[in-house]
């Protein structure tokens, strides 16, 4: 078979009423310098002289050089300068307007959450949290912000959540996936407690600077690092279930962002089997892991798996659960999934509505009185 044309596969119903995109990356126009107005003066020199030390071999770039500059789509660089994701007008024309995005969740990356110096991290997180509102949310009603926190310091994280929590411009708390420890460990529980108190879900987005990417050390290539991010998602899902977070915070919701979805199916079976044989090691986990997964977890699609037979994708969604799957684009990054063409199997209309919009609307914290997209 030779494919020279594309079939539009998203159900038009969802597109007509607008879609929800769970993963849009905003960037400060001048990098960290754009955040200085939001930071106490004494940290400006710190930023210039030391910055945010990464756990990697280079002073200012990732250890695994990306395959595309800025990890971005080549067509997403604004003509007037600045990195991809820094120009709201381009974001509108290239993505929000073009794809009828009615609600987009901003997922800022790399500021504050990655800091080894958690004091600096807390300052950066506070800055990026305010910056998102000024530069994007206040100017574009279709966008909502994420609260980023210096997650390795739970006290500072809780303080930041308490500061931002009452503002419903923030739809979720965002955590990176390369944390120092699996997220179910007790050091992170105060973050979950605070999230639950505001009814905010936790979005776990792949990435971060921490540690060897595999249990066998460091790989050589970017494509390997890219794959290892899936493992971080598996780690946190496993940890949150088996350390008892899901049991202890039954109303808290976790969104696994940018890890794909298909891997969760065999992991679910593996966890259920192991819980049956070795559940006595985790007596606080009272029910089979699959039950917690079905209640506590959502999975965003991108980078969506591309099975050789497109119908297999529909089966994957079916098995993960149509109520658990959320569309995400990852705009403006290179592995962007286009809402019209990414799902190569035709999604049934009703299910497409859920994946492209309705599941997310029932999940994120939205402003009081705000109308859901498509609502009269």
């Amino acid at each position: 078979m030779t494919s020279t044309t594309l079939e539009r596969t998203t159900a038009p119903a969802a597109v007509g009423a607008g879609i929800v995109d769970c993963d849009i990356h905003p960037s400060p126009r001048q990098g960290g310098a754009s955040l200085k107005p939001y930071m106490p003066r004494q940290w400006h020199d710190h930023m210039d002289q030391y910055g945010d030390p990464h756990n990697g071999p280079y002073a200012s770039v990732y250890g695994f050089p990306r395959y595309m500059p800025g990890t971005a789509r080549r067509d997403a660089w604004p003509e007037n300068g600045g990195p991809p994701g820094s120009d709201l007008d381009l974001m509108r024309s290239q993505h929000l307007d073009r794809n009828n995005v009615a609600l987009g969740i901003l997922e800022p990356l790399g500021f504050g959450t990655t800091a080894r110096n958690v004091e600096y991290g807390a300052v950066m997180c506070a800055a990026i949290n305010e910056w998102q509102i000024d530069e994007f949310v206040d100017r574009e009603p279709r966008l909502r912000a994420s609260i980023v926190v210096p997650q390795e310091d739970s006290a500072a994280s809780v303080a930041e959540i308490n500061r931002r929590g009452p503002d419903r411009s923030y739809a979720q708390i965002e955590l990176p996936s390369l944390t120092l420890e699996p997220l179910g460990r007790r050091r992170y529980w105060p973050i979950f407690e605070a999230a639950a108190s505001f009814g905010l879900p936790i979005g776990i987005h792949v990435g971060g600077p921490t540690g060897a990417r595999t249990a066998s050390g460091w790989p050589s290539y970017y494509n390997e690092e890219h794959l290892s991010l899936v493992a971080t998602m598996q780690t946190h899902l496993t940890s949150l279930v088996l350390e008892g977070v899901c049991e202890h915070f039954p109303d808290l919701r976790f969104i696994m962002i940018e890890g794909g979805i298909a891997w969760s199916i065999s992991l679910r079976r593996r966890l259920d089997r192991l819980w049956r044989t070795m559940g006595n090691e985790t007596p606080h986990v009272r029910r089979p892991p699959s039950e917690y997964m079905a209640e506590s977890f959502y999975f965003s699609t991108q980078p969506v798996e591309e099975p050789e037979t497109p119908a297999a994708l529909t089966e994957i969604f079916e098995q993960v659960g149509w109520d658990r799957v959320l569309y995400a684009s990852d705009y403006p990054h290179w592995d962007y999934d286009d809402p019209n063409y990414a799902f190569r199997g035709a999604l049934p209309d009703a299910q497409a509505n859920r994946v492209m919009r309705d599941n997310a609307l029932g999940l994120y914290r939205l402003p009081h009185g705000a109308r859901a997209p498509g609502e009269a």
Binding site: T5, L6, D75, W334, N340
Partner: protein
Amino acid sequence: MARHVVGKASELEPGERLATTIRGRPVVIFNLHGEYYGLLNRCPHQGAELSKGVVGGIAVADGPGEARCIRPGDFIRCPWHGWEFDIRTGQSWCDPGRYSIKQYQVAVERGDAIVKGPYKAEKIEVSVEDDYLVVDL
């Protein structure tokens, strides 16, 4: 099928590309070492505009660590996911049997021939002494 005049040949230098729309269809024309090739300006993967990608050679290797770059300028790399397409054939490098881009014939015609017709040149001023790029579509 008709013949569409898309621009002056002299305005598309070797190594350059021209994105245009013909009968509502996005088309990109490449000048490859003086030869012209036309492709549908849409990646068969997820629909990106190929004309916004980078043109380059193709990386091959005789073995691990023995990498070379060959055929410089012959490939367009999709601006999104980086799939590489042979500008001459439209075939993808990663899976040429399965993914390829529709090709359009590009010819160079003298202005005096075009003026006699039958060509469509709605947006282009044609002067008899220049050469023009003509696409069959």
